[in-house]
């Protein structure tokens, strides 16, 4: 028994703060599992996890060779060997679609996560400190935010070149302002709460207040924003690929690219090359949106309840 507690303590020490943040985020999900928003969130979460599973185990599910050009006869309709048919250069659509999940999720991870890691602390700091620092940051962020996302991403991609990592960076830049804004506005309102003043009355230093008192309470809304912006990320990435600005041609899976390539065959009644990649984009986006919207409905009443 003592051993377990010791192990638990060590894990808590190492993982410490991140675990506590994550735990405080998951509590509401578990509590609300029977309500409609809760169900929605869980569906979304399951879908997301499904995609993540596919993404991670892509090499196991589908050997990469199946995505090589001219591996198979071209433009075969769906049949027993090729569940989703083959495309214009002889690749198995199913294989493309599975590997595409990996690509999209990687971009999403880089893009949305990086944006969160950068945007959240800046927003927190800006909101707490106020003054001209805050005003300057808001000016910068609002300018970036005002730019049409896809256009800006395309610009950046054109400048720094193609590749998964670069696309990730381009997307990060677009989404940082979103995290900044949301975090900042939450910080502004939390800053005025009585318990923050009480913390000052106890003699707590600014950093302590910012991290323990404000950050923990502000981070509640992040999962919502993350899910919704991640959904957006997928669409933006697909859009970039569709425009030909995204990734190199030889990437094993690229939904947007596939959609773009499939366009020319639509007239001839070849539907499988566009339907399946498109469907994947939709499903992942829906899953993320469900998660985001569901969480949003759960979190909002919580925020309101805290005031009562």
């Amino acid at each position: 028994m003592g051993q377990d507690i010791k192990q638990q303590r060590i894990i808590t020490k190492i993982l410490g703060k991140p675990v506590r943040y994550v735990r405080s985020l998951f509590r509401p999900l578990v509590r609300e599992r029977r309500t409609l928003p809760g169900i929605l969130s869980w569906i979304g979460l399951v879908m997301l996890l499904g995609f993540i599973f596919i993404g991670i185990f892509a090499p196991v599910l589908v050997p990469i060779q199946q995505t090589n050009a001219l591996a198979y006869p071209i433009l075969l309709p769906p049949n027993a060997q090729h569940w989703m048919g083959t495309d214009g250069i002889g690749r198995d659509v199913f294989a493309r679609v599975i590997w595409g999940a990996r690509t999209s999720l990687t971009i999403m991870a880089i893009g949305a996560l990086l944006a969160l890691i950068v945007g959240f602390p800046i927003g927190l700091f800006s909101g707490y400190v106020g003054g001209w620092v805050d005003r300057a940051l808001v000016l910068v962020m609002d300018s970036v935010y005002a730019f049409p996302g896809l256009l800006l991403a395309a610009l950046i991609a054109a400048v720094i070149g193609k590749g998964i990592f670069n696309i990730g960076i381009a997307i990060t830049v677009i989404y940082i302002p979103l995290y900044f804004r949301v975090t900042r506005s939450q910080t502004l309102s939390t800053r005025e709460e009585l318990y923050v003043e009480a913390a000052r009355a106890l003699g707590a230093r600014s950093w302590t207040i910012m991290l323990r008192y404000i950050a923990f309470n502000v981070v509640i809304v992040i999962p919502v924003i993350f899910s919704l912006s991640a959904a957006d990320t997928i669409l933006t990435a697909a859009g970039l690929s569709y425009l030909g600005l995204g990734l190199e041609i030889d990437v094993p899976g690229d939904w947007g690219r596939d959609l773009s390539d499939a366009q020319k065959y639509l007239g001839s009644g070849i539907w499988w090359t566009s339907l399946f990649p498109g469907l994947m984009i939709i499903l992942l986006t829906i899953g993320l949106s469900f998660l985001g919207e569901g969480l949003s409905d759960i979190i909002n009443p919580l925020l309101r309840k805290e005031r009562s």
Binding site: E32, R34, T35
Partner: protein, 318 residues
């Protein structure tokens, strides 16, 4: 001659994640025209729910069982449009925080005009002049009628809310904690206004509050609620001087007033309304609780003329 207001076996419940909350259970209450009835209890006893139930403004999906007879009409059974016409015209409600009633983006004048025109087909000019009259009766100069709510002080906003409630001359005014957020002097002014209005308009007033002091000031009769049940009902004199229910006794004893010599409180805390205690809901906190209190729920018994209490041992306190 039908009773002005008769609440018959009213139960109100709503569902939450953990189960059904019985906010009100089996309330039986009567009110005659022109009287001031005080409804008292602590937080969560259901008194606000009662006021909202009468007005029919409970959130959707709330279960209402029983009857609320207002001048013979059973309110929960009214159609939506009929109920809407009743509100403000015959039964009006004022809240603790005037800002929940007043739209910060609307001038005061328009609050009145909108309300009047929703119920009566008069010209806008006529509505405006009635608005001016109503404000004047509250001591607010008509030059301020074009102001926005935030340009008034708390006490004035409360007066505006009262004026709004009364502009259609309802016969029943329900006041839910009308003075809780106000200072004592303004509170007295508002109470004075309420009493004047009662006299002038022969209005009936239902005062919902946890402040026993103001109940003693202006109420004719008092109803005490605990955990959704009515535990005592009687004239103000009877309830204050000879409380028959231990909860009422505890409440009265814990009031801190100018002549308080000792501090008293009631042990424990209000029960969970999803799974309330068996038998008498107050038994876990009652200093006189016996076995029967745990097993059997006490009925509401008239121990004295006009004085009822729900306690197995009510007569011992006579």
């Amino acid at each position: 001659m039908e009773t002005f207001l008769k609440i018959d076996d009213l139960s109100v419940g709503y569902w939450t994640r953990r189960g059904k909350v019985g906010a009100l259970v089996g309330i039986r209450l009567e009110m005659s025209e022109g009287e001031t009835l005080g409804i008292v209890g602590e937080t969560g006893c259901g008194k606000s729910t009662l006021g909202k139930a009468i007005l029919g403004i409970l959130p959707p999906l709330t279960e209402i069982q029983g009857h609320i007879f207002f001048r013979g009409r059973d309110l929960p059974r009214l159609g939506l449009e009929e109920y809407r016409r009743l509100r403000a015209k015959e039964i009006a409600l004022i809240f603790q925080d005037p800002m929940t009633r007043l739209n910060p983006l609307m001038r005061i004048e328009n609050h009145f005009v909108e309300e009047i025109l929703a119920h009566e087909s008069v010209s806008k000019a006529e509505a405006r002049s009635r608005a001016r009259e109503a404000l004047l009766s509250m001591g607010i100069h008509e030059s301020r009628i074009r102001n926005y709510p935030h340009e008034f002080s708390g006490g004035m906003r409360q007066r505006i809310m009262i004026a709004l409630a009364l502009v259609l001359k309802p016969s029943l005014l329900i006041a839910d904690e009308p003075t809780t957020s106000l200072d004592v002097i303004v509170e007295s002014q508002i109470l004075e206004i309420l009493q004047d209005l009662k006299r002038v308009y022969h209005m009936s007033l239902q005062l919902i509050t946890h402040n026993m002091g103001i109940v003693a000031e202006i109420c004719d009769r008092v109803a005490v609620l605990y955990a959704g049940k009515l535990v005592e009902l009687g004239s103000a004199h009877d309830v204050f001087h000879k409380p028959l229910h231990p909860y009422t006794q505890g409440l009265l004893a814990s009031i801190i007033h100018l002549d308080t010599k000792e501090l008293h409180s009631i042990e424990g805390s209000p029960p969970d309304l999803i799974s309330p205690p068996s038998g008498c809901r107050f038994h876990p906190r009652c200093p006189y609780a016996q076995q029967i209190c745990v097993e059997k729920e006490p009925p509401l018994v008239e121990f004295q003329k006009g004085h009822l209490a729900a306690c197995h041992f009510g007569d011992t306190f006579l």
